[in-house]
Protein backbone atom coordinates (compact mmCIF):
# COMPACT_ATOMS: atom_id res chain seq x y z
CA UNK A 1 0.00 0.00 0.00
CA UNK A 2 2.88 2.22 0.92
CA UNK A 3 3.86 2.52 -2.73
CA UNK A 4 0.71 1.74 -4.61
CA UNK A 5 0.22 3.77 -7.75
CA UNK A 6 -1.67 2.93 -10.84
CA UNK A 7 -1.16 4.19 -14.37
CA UNK A 8 -3.34 3.09 -17.28
CA UNK A 9 -4.54 0.18 -15.23
CA UNK A 10 -1.02 -0.97 -14.46
CA UNK A 11 -0.45 -1.36 -10.78
CA UNK A 12 2.97 -0.46 -9.38
CA UNK A 13 4.14 -1.89 -6.09
CA UNK A 14 7.35 0.07 -6.01
CA UNK A 15 7.96 3.57 -7.32
CA UNK A 16 11.35 2.43 -8.67
CA UNK A 17 11.58 1.29 -12.26
CA UNK A 18 14.93 0.47 -13.82
CA UNK A 19 15.90 2.81 -16.64
CA UNK A 20 16.43 1.88 -20.25
CA UNK A 21 19.96 0.75 -21.03
CA UNK A 22 20.87 0.21 -17.41
CA UNK A 23 19.27 -3.17 -16.82
CA UNK A 24 19.52 -4.80 -20.25
CA UNK A 25 16.59 -7.13 -20.78
CA UNK A 26 16.49 -8.18 -17.17
CA UNK A 27 18.46 -11.42 -17.44
CA UNK A 28 22.01 -10.42 -16.54
CA UNK A 29 21.90 -9.94 -12.80
CA UNK A 30 19.07 -12.21 -11.73
CA UNK A 31 21.51 -13.84 -9.31
CA UNK A 32 21.82 -10.54 -7.47
CA UNK A 33 18.32 -9.09 -7.40
CA UNK A 34 14.75 -10.33 -7.45
CA UNK A 35 13.40 -8.68 -10.58
CA UNK A 36 9.87 -9.04 -9.33
CA UNK A 37 10.65 -6.51 -6.62
CA UNK A 38 11.18 -3.81 -9.21
CA UNK A 39 8.44 -1.27 -9.79
CA UNK A 40 8.96 -1.93 -13.46
CA UNK A 41 11.54 -2.78 -16.03
CA UNK A 42 12.25 -0.57 -19.03
CA UNK A 43 14.18 -2.45 -21.69
CA UNK A 44 17.23 -1.26 -23.55
CA UNK A 45 16.10 0.69 -26.64
CA UNK A 46 14.88 -1.57 -29.42
CA UNK A 47 15.13 -0.53 -33.06
CA UNK A 48 13.66 -1.91 -36.27
CA UNK A 49 16.93 -3.45 -37.40
CA UNK A 50 19.67 -4.88 -35.23
CA UNK A 51 22.32 -2.28 -34.36
CA UNK A 52 25.91 -3.04 -33.56
CA UNK A 53 26.31 0.32 -31.83
CA UNK A 54 29.15 2.83 -31.86
CA UNK A 55 32.85 1.96 -32.04
CA UNK A 56 34.67 1.91 -28.71
CA UNK A 57 35.45 3.64 -26.47
CA UNK A 58 31.82 4.01 -25.50
CA UNK A 59 31.97 5.01 -21.84
CA UNK A 60 34.04 7.28 -19.60
CA UNK A 61 33.93 8.18 -15.95
CA UNK A 62 33.38 11.80 -14.91
CA UNK A 63 33.03 13.54 -11.53
CA UNK A 64 30.00 11.89 -9.89
CA UNK A 65 28.85 10.54 -13.23
CA UNK A 66 29.67 8.90 -16.51
CA UNK A 67 29.46 9.53 -20.22
CA UNK A 68 28.13 6.96 -22.62
CA UNK A 69 27.78 6.67 -26.32
CA UNK A 70 26.56 3.14 -26.80
CA UNK A 71 24.75 4.04 -29.99
CA UNK A 72 21.68 1.93 -29.29
CA UNK A 73 23.39 -1.44 -29.74
CA UNK A 74 20.54 -3.96 -29.68
CA UNK A 75 19.39 -7.15 -31.38
CA UNK A 76 16.55 -5.49 -33.29
CA UNK A 77 12.82 -5.92 -32.81
CA UNK A 78 12.49 -9.33 -34.52
CA UNK A 79 15.11 -10.98 -32.34
CA UNK A 80 13.64 -9.20 -29.36
CA UNK A 81 10.22 -10.64 -30.09
CA UNK A 82 11.56 -14.10 -30.85
CA UNK A 83 14.15 -14.55 -28.14
CA UNK A 84 13.65 -12.05 -25.34
CA UNK A 85 9.98 -11.23 -25.08
CA UNK A 86 8.84 -14.75 -24.13
CA UNK A 87 11.01 -14.60 -21.04
CA UNK A 88 9.89 -11.07 -20.13
CA UNK A 89 6.26 -12.17 -20.30
CA UNK A 90 6.89 -14.50 -17.40
CA UNK A 91 7.82 -11.61 -15.08
CA UNK A 92 5.35 -10.25 -12.58
CA UNK A 93 6.96 -6.82 -12.87
CA UNK A 94 5.46 -4.49 -15.48
CA UNK A 95 7.72 -4.36 -18.53
CA UNK A 96 8.00 -1.34 -20.79
CA UNK A 97 9.66 -1.77 -24.15
CA UNK A 98 11.79 1.24 -24.98
CA UNK A 99 11.68 2.03 -28.69
CA UNK A 100 14.10 4.13 -30.73
CA UNK A 101 14.19 4.96 -34.42
CA UNK A 102 15.74 7.18 -37.06
CA UNK A 103 12.47 8.02 -38.80
CA UNK A 104 8.87 8.30 -37.72
CA UNK A 105 8.13 5.24 -39.85
CA UNK A 106 10.70 3.16 -37.97
CA UNK A 107 9.16 3.94 -34.59
CA UNK A 108 5.73 3.03 -35.94
CA UNK A 109 6.92 -0.24 -37.45
CA UNK A 110 8.61 -1.36 -34.26
CA UNK A 111 5.50 -0.56 -32.28
CA UNK A 112 3.31 -2.39 -34.77
CA UNK A 113 5.45 -5.50 -34.65
CA UNK A 114 5.25 -5.50 -30.89
CA UNK A 115 1.50 -4.91 -30.88
CA UNK A 116 1.02 -7.76 -33.35
CA UNK A 117 2.56 -10.21 -30.94
CA UNK A 118 -0.26 -9.36 -28.58
CA UNK A 119 2.65 -8.72 -26.30
CA UNK A 120 1.92 -8.95 -22.65
CA UNK A 121 4.04 -5.89 -21.99
CA UNK A 122 2.68 -3.06 -19.91
CA UNK A 123 3.56 -0.41 -22.42
CA UNK A 124 6.15 1.48 -24.37
CA UNK A 125 8.67 4.14 -23.58
CA UNK A 126 9.61 6.12 -26.65
CA UNK A 127 13.20 7.33 -26.75
CA UNK A 128 13.12 10.64 -28.58
CA UNK A 129 16.14 11.82 -26.69
CA UNK A 130 19.18 9.68 -27.39
CA UNK A 131 22.11 12.01 -27.97
CA UNK A 132 24.38 9.28 -29.30
CA UNK A 133 23.19 8.41 -32.75
CA UNK A 134 23.73 10.40 -35.92
CA UNK A 135 20.19 10.24 -37.26
CA UNK A 136 16.94 10.55 -35.43
CA UNK A 137 17.30 9.97 -31.74
CA UNK A 138 17.42 13.35 -30.12
CA UNK A 139 16.25 15.15 -33.25
CA UNK A 140 12.71 14.03 -32.42
CA UNK A 141 12.91 15.36 -28.92
CA UNK A 142 14.09 18.92 -29.53
CA UNK A 143 11.18 20.13 -31.62
CA UNK A 144 7.62 20.28 -30.26
CA UNK A 145 5.96 19.70 -33.63
CA UNK A 146 7.96 16.58 -34.38
CA UNK A 147 7.31 15.33 -30.88
CA UNK A 148 3.58 15.86 -31.20
CA UNK A 149 3.43 14.22 -34.62
CA UNK A 150 5.40 11.18 -33.51
CA UNK A 151 3.37 10.80 -30.35
CA UNK A 152 0.14 11.08 -32.31
CA UNK A 153 1.22 8.43 -34.81
CA UNK A 154 2.14 5.97 -32.10
CA UNK A 155 -0.98 6.73 -30.11
CA UNK A 156 -3.08 5.59 -33.04
CA UNK A 157 -1.38 2.19 -33.04
CA UNK A 158 -1.69 1.24 -29.40
CA UNK A 159 -3.92 1.37 -26.37
CA UNK A 160 -1.09 0.32 -24.13
CA UNK A 161 0.63 2.78 -21.87
CA UNK A 162 2.60 5.19 -24.05
CA UNK A 163 5.44 7.04 -22.33
CA UNK A 164 7.48 9.66 -24.16
CA UNK A 165 11.04 10.03 -22.83
CA UNK A 166 12.29 13.59 -23.00
CA UNK A 167 15.68 15.12 -23.60
CA UNK A 168 17.14 17.74 -21.25
CA UNK A 169 19.20 19.25 -24.06
CA UNK A 170 16.65 21.87 -24.98
CA UNK A 171 15.86 25.45 -24.06
CA UNK A 172 12.29 24.75 -22.96
CA UNK A 173 11.59 21.14 -22.01
CA UNK A 174 8.09 22.09 -20.90
CA UNK A 175 7.18 22.84 -24.52
CA UNK A 176 8.24 19.39 -25.64
CA UNK A 177 6.35 17.91 -22.70
CA UNK A 178 3.20 19.77 -23.63
CA UNK A 179 3.55 18.61 -27.23
CA UNK A 180 3.81 14.99 -26.14
CA UNK A 181 0.73 15.44 -23.98
CA UNK A 182 -1.13 17.01 -26.88
CA UNK A 183 -0.09 14.08 -29.08
CA UNK A 184 -1.79 11.71 -26.68
CA UNK A 185 0.98 10.35 -24.48
CA UNK A 186 -0.18 8.60 -21.31
CA UNK A 187 2.89 9.65 -19.38
CA UNK A 188 6.28 11.28 -19.73
CA UNK A 189 9.66 10.25 -18.50
CA UNK A 190 12.51 12.71 -18.00
CA UNK A 191 15.37 12.99 -18.34
CA UNK A 192 17.57 11.17 -20.78
CA UNK A 193 21.30 11.95 -20.65
CA UNK A 194 22.82 15.43 -20.93
CA UNK A 195 25.24 16.02 -23.79
CA UNK A 196 28.79 15.97 -22.47
CA UNK A 197 32.36 15.25 -23.41
CA UNK A 198 35.72 14.35 -21.94
CA UNK A 199 39.26 14.29 -23.33
CA UNK A 200 42.22 12.14 -22.44
CA UNK A 201 44.85 14.87 -22.31
CA UNK A 202 47.82 12.54 -22.45
CA UNK A 203 46.99 11.27 -25.92
CA UNK A 204 44.72 14.18 -26.90
CA UNK A 205 41.83 11.94 -27.93
CA UNK A 206 38.23 12.21 -26.83
CA UNK A 207 37.28 9.57 -24.26
CA UNK A 208 34.34 8.58 -26.45
CA UNK A 209 34.76 7.57 -30.07
CA UNK A 210 31.78 9.77 -30.95
CA UNK A 211 33.49 12.71 -29.19
CA UNK A 212 30.33 13.80 -27.36
CA UNK A 213 28.02 11.47 -25.50
CA UNK A 214 25.44 11.42 -22.77
CA UNK A 215 26.15 12.36 -19.16
CA UNK A 216 24.34 10.43 -16.44
CA UNK A 217 24.66 9.73 -12.73
CA UNK A 218 24.54 11.81 -9.55
CA UNK A 219 26.15 14.80 -11.29
CA UNK A 220 22.98 15.44 -13.32
CA UNK A 221 20.48 14.99 -10.51
CA UNK A 222 19.98 18.73 -9.90
CA UNK A 223 19.44 19.26 -13.63
CA UNK A 224 16.96 16.41 -13.88
CA UNK A 225 15.06 17.63 -10.86
CA UNK A 226 14.72 21.14 -12.28
CA UNK A 227 13.44 19.74 -15.57
CA UNK A 228 10.94 17.43 -13.87
CA UNK A 229 9.71 20.35 -11.81
CA UNK A 230 9.26 22.50 -14.92
CA UNK A 231 7.42 19.71 -16.74
CA UNK A 232 5.13 19.05 -13.80
CA UNK A 233 4.06 22.71 -13.89
CA UNK A 234 3.24 22.42 -17.58
CA UNK A 235 1.37 19.15 -18.05
CA UNK A 236 -1.33 17.11 -16.39
CA UNK A 237 -0.30 13.57 -17.33
CA UNK A 238 1.75 11.36 -15.02
CA UNK A 239 5.47 11.91 -14.90
CA UNK A 240 8.33 9.50 -14.34
CA UNK A 241 11.42 11.25 -12.99
CA UNK A 242 14.97 10.06 -13.49
CA UNK A 243 18.51 11.29 -13.62
CA UNK A 244 21.15 10.58 -11.00
CA UNK A 245 18.97 8.89 -8.40
CA UNK A 246 21.08 6.87 -6.00
CA UNK A 247 19.22 6.77 -2.68
CA UNK A 248 15.80 7.15 -1.14
CA UNK A 249 16.15 10.88 -0.54
CA UNK A 250 16.73 11.39 -4.24
CA UNK A 251 13.51 9.51 -4.97
CA UNK A 252 11.57 11.66 -2.54
CA UNK A 253 13.03 14.80 -4.10
CA UNK A 254 11.69 13.78 -7.50
CA UNK A 255 8.27 12.97 -6.10
CA UNK A 256 8.09 16.27 -4.20
CA UNK A 257 9.05 18.02 -7.44
CA UNK A 258 6.11 16.42 -9.23
CA UNK A 259 7.05 12.90 -10.33
CA UNK A 260 4.62 10.00 -9.90
CA UNK A 261 7.24 7.30 -10.33
CA UNK A 262 10.99 7.27 -10.82
CA UNK A 263 13.58 5.26 -12.69
CA UNK A 264 17.07 4.45 -11.59
CA UNK A 265 19.82 4.20 -14.14
CA UNK A 266 23.55 4.55 -13.69
CA UNK A 267 23.45 3.46 -10.04
CA UNK A 268 22.45 -0.02 -11.24
CA UNK A 269 25.95 -0.53 -12.60
CA UNK A 270 27.54 0.03 -9.22
CA UNK A 271 24.77 -1.59 -7.23
CA UNK A 272 22.74 -4.10 -9.24
CA UNK A 273 20.29 -4.44 -6.36
CA UNK A 274 19.86 -0.69 -5.88
CA UNK A 275 16.14 -0.76 -6.70
CA UNK A 276 15.46 -3.17 -3.86
CA UNK A 277 17.78 -1.44 -1.40
CA UNK A 278 16.22 1.95 -2.07
CA UNK A 279 12.73 0.53 -1.84
CA UNK A 280 13.66 -0.67 1.64
CA UNK A 281 15.08 2.73 2.59
CA UNK A 282 11.88 4.37 1.38
CA UNK A 283 9.79 2.02 3.46
CA UNK A 284 11.70 2.97 6.61
CA UNK A 285 11.51 6.65 5.79
CA UNK A 286 7.75 6.55 5.15
CA UNK A 287 7.22 4.64 8.37
CA UNK A 288 9.23 7.18 10.35
CA UNK A 289 7.47 10.11 8.71
CA UNK A 290 3.99 8.65 8.85
CA UNK A 291 3.49 8.66 5.11
CA UNK A 292 0.68 6.24 4.25
CA UNK A 293 1.42 6.29 0.54
CA UNK A 294 4.56 7.84 -0.85
CA UNK A 295 2.61 9.06 -3.84
CA UNK A 296 0.74 11.46 -1.58
CA UNK A 297 3.91 13.56 -1.64
CA UNK A 298 3.67 14.17 -5.38
CA UNK A 299 4.23 17.86 -6.03
CA UNK A 300 4.07 18.58 -2.31
CA UNK A 301 7.21 20.66 -2.22
CA UNK A 302 6.54 23.74 -0.11
CA UNK A 303 7.58 26.77 -2.10
CA UNK A 304 8.72 29.87 -0.24
Amino acid sequence: MRFHFSLNGISFNSPLLVASGTFGFGDEVTDLIDINQLGGLVTKSITLHPREGNPPPRIAETPAGMLNSIGLANPGVDSFIGEILPRLKALKTPVFVNIAGSTLQEYVEVLDKLENTGAAVAGYEINISCPNVKQGGMAFGIDPHTTERLTGSLRKQTDKCLIMKLSPNVTHIEEIAAAAEAGGADALSAINTVVGMSIDVENRTPRLHTVTGGLSGAAIKPIALAQVYKISQAVGIPLIGLGGISNHKDVIEFILAGADLVQIGTINFKQPAAAVRIRGELEVWCERNNIANLHDLKGEMITP
Partner: protein, 263 residues
Protein backbone atom coordinates in the same frame (compact mmCIF):
# COMPACT_ATOMS: atom_id res chain seq x y z
CA UNK B 1 27.52 -14.57 -9.98
CA UNK B 2 27.64 -13.38 -6.37
CA UNK B 3 27.79 -10.04 -4.63
CA UNK B 4 29.56 -10.23 -1.32
CA UNK B 5 31.26 -8.02 1.22
CA UNK B 6 34.58 -9.83 1.23
CA UNK B 7 36.85 -9.40 4.20
CA UNK B 8 40.49 -8.56 3.48
CA UNK B 9 42.54 -11.20 5.27
CA UNK B 10 46.02 -10.16 4.12
CA UNK B 11 47.79 -7.49 2.12
CA UNK B 12 51.31 -7.65 0.87
CA UNK B 13 53.60 -6.00 -1.63
CA UNK B 14 54.72 -8.54 -4.24
CA UNK B 15 57.00 -6.33 -6.34
CA UNK B 16 57.89 -2.67 -6.78
CA UNK B 17 54.56 -2.16 -8.51
CA UNK B 18 52.29 -5.05 -7.56
CA UNK B 19 50.18 -5.42 -4.44
CA UNK B 20 48.42 -8.60 -3.45
CA UNK B 21 45.23 -8.73 -1.41
CA UNK B 22 43.54 -11.84 -0.01
CA UNK B 23 39.76 -11.66 0.13
CA UNK B 24 37.49 -14.01 2.03
CA UNK B 25 34.53 -15.19 -0.04
CA UNK B 26 33.49 -18.84 -0.05
CA UNK B 27 31.08 -18.28 -2.94
CA UNK B 28 33.37 -16.37 -5.29
CA UNK B 29 36.35 -18.56 -4.44
CA UNK B 30 34.41 -21.75 -5.16
CA UNK B 31 33.18 -20.52 -8.52
CA UNK B 32 36.32 -18.68 -9.69
CA UNK B 33 38.28 -20.17 -12.62
CA UNK B 34 41.36 -18.82 -14.39
CA UNK B 35 40.35 -15.88 -16.56
CA UNK B 36 37.50 -14.78 -14.31
CA UNK B 37 37.44 -11.35 -12.75
CA UNK B 38 35.55 -9.56 -10.00
CA UNK B 39 34.14 -6.04 -10.16
CA UNK B 40 34.71 -4.28 -6.86
CA UNK B 41 34.13 -1.07 -4.95
CA UNK B 42 37.41 0.48 -3.75
CA UNK B 43 35.47 1.86 -0.74
CA UNK B 44 32.02 1.39 0.74
CA UNK B 45 31.23 5.05 0.03
CA UNK B 46 32.89 5.03 -3.41
CA UNK B 47 31.68 8.19 -5.19
CA UNK B 48 32.62 7.54 -8.82
CA UNK B 49 30.06 5.83 -11.04
CA UNK B 50 31.98 2.67 -11.81
CA UNK B 51 33.34 -0.32 -9.93
CA UNK B 52 36.89 -1.45 -10.67
CA UNK B 53 37.45 -4.80 -12.44
CA UNK B 54 40.25 -7.00 -11.07
CA UNK B 55 41.22 -10.47 -12.24
CA UNK B 56 41.22 -13.34 -9.82
CA UNK B 57 44.92 -14.12 -9.35
CA UNK B 58 44.63 -17.15 -7.09
CA UNK B 59 42.17 -19.21 -5.08
CA UNK B 60 42.84 -21.26 -2.01
CA UNK B 61 39.94 -22.57 -0.02
CA UNK B 62 37.52 -19.77 0.81
CA UNK B 63 39.98 -17.06 -0.10
CA UNK B 64 40.73 -15.56 -3.48
CA UNK B 65 43.52 -13.18 -4.27
CA UNK B 66 43.91 -10.18 -6.52
CA UNK B 67 47.09 -8.46 -7.70
CA UNK B 68 47.00 -4.79 -8.54
CA UNK B 69 49.05 -1.81 -9.51
CA UNK B 70 48.23 1.74 -8.44
CA UNK B 71 47.34 3.75 -11.55
CA UNK B 72 44.59 6.14 -10.45
CA UNK B 73 42.21 7.05 -7.66
CA UNK B 74 40.50 3.64 -7.40
CA UNK B 75 43.66 1.62 -7.10
CA UNK B 76 45.09 4.31 -4.80
CA UNK B 77 42.13 3.73 -2.51
CA UNK B 78 42.68 -0.04 -2.71
CA UNK B 79 46.23 0.61 -1.63
CA UNK B 80 44.88 1.87 1.73
CA UNK B 81 43.09 -1.41 2.48
CA UNK B 82 44.09 -3.20 5.62
CA UNK B 83 43.12 -6.60 6.97
CA UNK B 84 39.56 -6.49 8.26
CA UNK B 85 38.34 -4.11 5.57
CA UNK B 86 35.16 -5.26 3.82
CA UNK B 87 35.22 -5.06 0.04
CA UNK B 88 32.01 -5.26 -1.99
CA UNK B 89 32.83 -7.62 -4.87
CA UNK B 90 30.66 -8.94 -7.69
CA UNK B 91 31.97 -12.07 -9.32
CA UNK B 92 33.16 -14.26 -10.72
CA UNK B 93 32.58 -12.53 -14.06
CA UNK B 94 33.54 -13.13 -17.68
CA UNK B 95 34.62 -16.22 -19.56
CA UNK B 96 37.52 -18.49 -18.66
CA UNK B 97 40.49 -20.13 -20.29
CA UNK B 98 39.80 -23.52 -21.83
CA UNK B 99 41.60 -26.13 -23.90
CA UNK B 100 44.66 -26.32 -21.70
CA UNK B 101 44.29 -30.07 -21.21
CA UNK B 102 44.41 -30.82 -24.92
CA UNK B 103 47.43 -28.60 -25.62
CA UNK B 104 50.82 -27.80 -24.23
CA UNK B 105 50.00 -24.52 -22.50
CA UNK B 106 52.37 -21.60 -22.89
CA UNK B 107 51.36 -18.86 -20.48
CA UNK B 108 52.36 -15.26 -21.19
CA UNK B 109 51.70 -12.47 -18.74
CA UNK B 110 52.82 -8.86 -18.42
CA UNK B 111 52.14 -6.06 -15.96
CA UNK B 112 48.87 -6.54 -14.09
CA UNK B 113 47.96 -9.00 -16.83
CA UNK B 114 50.05 -11.41 -14.85
CA UNK B 115 47.16 -11.91 -12.44
CA UNK B 116 44.88 -14.22 -14.47
CA UNK B 117 47.83 -15.96 -16.08
CA UNK B 118 49.37 -16.68 -12.72
CA UNK B 119 46.06 -18.17 -11.59
CA UNK B 120 46.11 -20.48 -14.61
CA UNK B 121 49.73 -21.38 -13.81
CA UNK B 122 48.71 -22.44 -10.32
CA UNK B 123 45.79 -24.52 -11.57
CA UNK B 124 47.98 -26.26 -14.14
CA UNK B 125 50.65 -26.93 -11.55
CA UNK B 126 48.14 -28.35 -9.10
CA UNK B 127 46.56 -30.54 -11.75
CA UNK B 128 50.03 -31.52 -12.93
CA UNK B 129 49.67 -30.31 -16.46
CA UNK B 130 53.16 -29.47 -17.67
CA UNK B 131 53.33 -25.97 -19.13
CA UNK B 132 55.61 -23.03 -19.72
CA UNK B 133 55.20 -19.59 -18.19
CA UNK B 134 56.64 -16.35 -19.48
CA UNK B 135 56.36 -13.19 -17.46
CA UNK B 136 57.44 -9.81 -18.79
CA UNK B 137 58.21 -6.53 -17.08
CA UNK B 138 60.25 -3.42 -17.65
CA UNK B 139 62.75 -4.11 -14.91
CA UNK B 140 63.64 -6.69 -12.28
CA UNK B 141 61.93 -4.79 -9.46
CA UNK B 142 58.55 -5.35 -11.09
CA UNK B 143 58.89 -9.15 -11.00
CA UNK B 144 57.98 -11.36 -8.10
CA UNK B 145 58.53 -14.73 -9.76
CA UNK B 146 61.95 -16.37 -10.24
CA UNK B 147 63.63 -16.84 -13.61
CA UNK B 148 63.83 -20.67 -13.78
CA UNK B 149 63.99 -21.78 -17.42
CA UNK B 150 64.73 -25.35 -16.30
CA UNK B 151 61.33 -25.39 -14.61
CA UNK B 152 59.68 -23.73 -17.58
CA UNK B 153 59.53 -20.22 -16.17
CA UNK B 154 61.11 -17.40 -18.14
CA UNK B 155 61.21 -13.82 -16.96
CA UNK B 156 61.95 -11.04 -19.39
CA UNK B 157 62.87 -7.43 -18.68
CA UNK B 158 63.17 -4.52 -21.06
CA UNK B 159 66.38 -3.46 -19.37
CA UNK B 160 67.84 -6.94 -18.98
CA UNK B 161 68.07 -6.57 -15.20
CA UNK B 162 66.69 -10.08 -14.73
CA UNK B 163 65.93 -13.01 -17.06
CA UNK B 164 65.98 -12.55 -20.78
CA UNK B 165 66.61 -9.05 -22.07
CA UNK B 166 63.74 -7.84 -24.23
CA UNK B 167 60.02 -8.36 -24.28
CA UNK B 168 57.98 -11.51 -23.78
CA UNK B 169 58.52 -12.56 -27.40
CA UNK B 170 62.08 -13.46 -26.35
CA UNK B 171 60.62 -15.83 -23.80
CA UNK B 172 58.08 -17.16 -26.26
CA UNK B 173 60.82 -18.03 -28.72
CA UNK B 174 62.79 -19.83 -26.04
CA UNK B 175 59.70 -21.75 -25.01
CA UNK B 176 58.79 -22.72 -28.56
CA UNK B 177 62.30 -24.14 -29.05
CA UNK B 178 61.97 -26.22 -25.91
CA UNK B 179 58.60 -27.55 -26.90
CA UNK B 180 59.85 -29.25 -30.08
CA UNK B 181 59.03 -32.93 -30.02
CA UNK B 182 56.22 -32.54 -27.46
CA UNK B 183 53.22 -34.74 -28.12
CA UNK B 184 50.78 -31.98 -27.33
CA UNK B 185 50.67 -29.01 -29.70
CA UNK B 186 51.19 -25.64 -28.02
CA UNK B 187 48.50 -23.14 -27.15
CA UNK B 188 49.23 -19.67 -25.86
CA UNK B 189 47.30 -18.09 -22.98
CA UNK B 190 48.13 -14.43 -22.79
CA UNK B 191 47.23 -11.32 -20.78
CA UNK B 192 49.13 -8.08 -20.72
CA UNK B 193 49.18 -4.47 -21.86
CA UNK B 194 47.70 -3.77 -25.31
CA UNK B 195 51.06 -3.67 -27.14
CA UNK B 196 52.10 -6.98 -25.64
CA UNK B 197 48.78 -8.64 -26.46
CA UNK B 198 49.11 -7.48 -30.02
CA UNK B 199 52.70 -8.67 -30.40
CA UNK B 200 51.93 -12.07 -28.88
CA UNK B 201 48.72 -12.38 -30.89
CA UNK B 202 50.48 -11.57 -34.17
CA UNK B 203 53.27 -13.97 -33.30
CA UNK B 204 50.80 -16.75 -32.63
CA UNK B 205 48.83 -16.09 -35.80
CA UNK B 206 52.03 -16.17 -37.86
CA UNK B 207 53.26 -19.31 -36.15
CA UNK B 208 49.85 -20.94 -36.46
CA UNK B 209 49.64 -21.50 -32.71
CA UNK B 210 46.20 -21.16 -31.13
CA UNK B 211 46.22 -18.22 -28.74
CA UNK B 212 43.63 -16.95 -26.28
CA UNK B 213 44.13 -13.41 -25.08
CA UNK B 214 42.48 -11.72 -22.12
CA UNK B 215 41.98 -8.04 -22.78
CA UNK B 216 41.20 -5.04 -20.58
CA UNK B 217 38.74 -2.31 -21.40
CA UNK B 218 37.00 0.28 -19.35
CA UNK B 219 33.88 -1.28 -17.79
CA UNK B 220 30.84 0.06 -16.01
CA UNK B 221 28.59 -2.88 -15.15
CA UNK B 222 30.91 -5.84 -15.79
CA UNK B 223 27.85 -8.01 -16.41
CA UNK B 224 26.87 -7.38 -20.02
CA UNK B 225 24.25 -4.75 -19.35
CA UNK B 226 25.71 -1.35 -20.20
CA UNK B 227 27.35 -2.36 -23.50
CA UNK B 228 30.15 0.03 -22.62
CA UNK B 229 33.06 -2.39 -22.82
CA UNK B 230 32.77 -3.01 -26.56
CA UNK B 231 35.78 -4.38 -28.36
CA UNK B 232 36.07 -4.49 -32.12
CA UNK B 233 36.37 -7.97 -33.60
CA UNK B 234 38.04 -8.71 -36.96
CA UNK B 235 36.11 -11.92 -37.48
CA UNK B 236 32.64 -13.02 -36.58
CA UNK B 237 32.30 -15.28 -33.57
CA UNK B 238 29.40 -17.64 -34.27
CA UNK B 239 28.58 -18.17 -30.59
CA UNK B 240 27.76 -14.48 -30.15
CA UNK B 241 24.38 -12.89 -30.95
CA UNK B 242 24.43 -11.41 -34.46
CA UNK B 243 24.44 -7.76 -33.29
CA UNK B 244 27.60 -8.42 -31.22
CA UNK B 245 29.64 -10.04 -34.00
CA UNK B 246 31.44 -6.80 -34.76
CA UNK B 247 31.51 -5.22 -31.34
CA UNK B 248 31.62 -7.83 -28.62
CA UNK B 249 31.43 -7.17 -24.90
CA UNK B 250 34.71 -7.57 -23.07
CA UNK B 251 32.96 -8.29 -19.77
CA UNK B 252 30.60 -10.99 -20.95
CA UNK B 253 31.69 -12.27 -24.35
CA UNK B 254 35.27 -11.94 -23.01
CA UNK B 255 37.55 -10.85 -21.48
CA UNK B 256 39.21 -13.77 -23.32
CA UNK B 257 39.12 -13.81 -27.11
CA UNK B 258 40.98 -15.83 -29.72
CA UNK B 259 43.91 -13.98 -31.28
CA UNK B 260 42.40 -14.28 -34.76
CA UNK B 261 39.29 -12.35 -33.83
CA UNK B 262 41.32 -9.58 -32.19
CA UNK B 263 44.20 -9.01 -34.60
Amino acid sequence: MYQEDCRVTAVRQRSDTLWEVCLYSPAISAAGRPGHFVNLLPAADWGPAMRRPMSIAAVSGDIFRILFKVVGSGTAKMHTWEPGQLVDCIGPLGNTWTGYERHFPILVGGGVGLAPVWFLDQVLTTTQIQHFFIAGARTSGEHFLKHEPHRGIWLTTDDGSVGLSGNVLKGLEAAIVKIQGERRTPKIFCCGPPAMNRAVGKFALKAGIPCDISIETIMACGTGICQGCAIELRQAVPELPPYRQHYALACKDGPIFKAEVLF
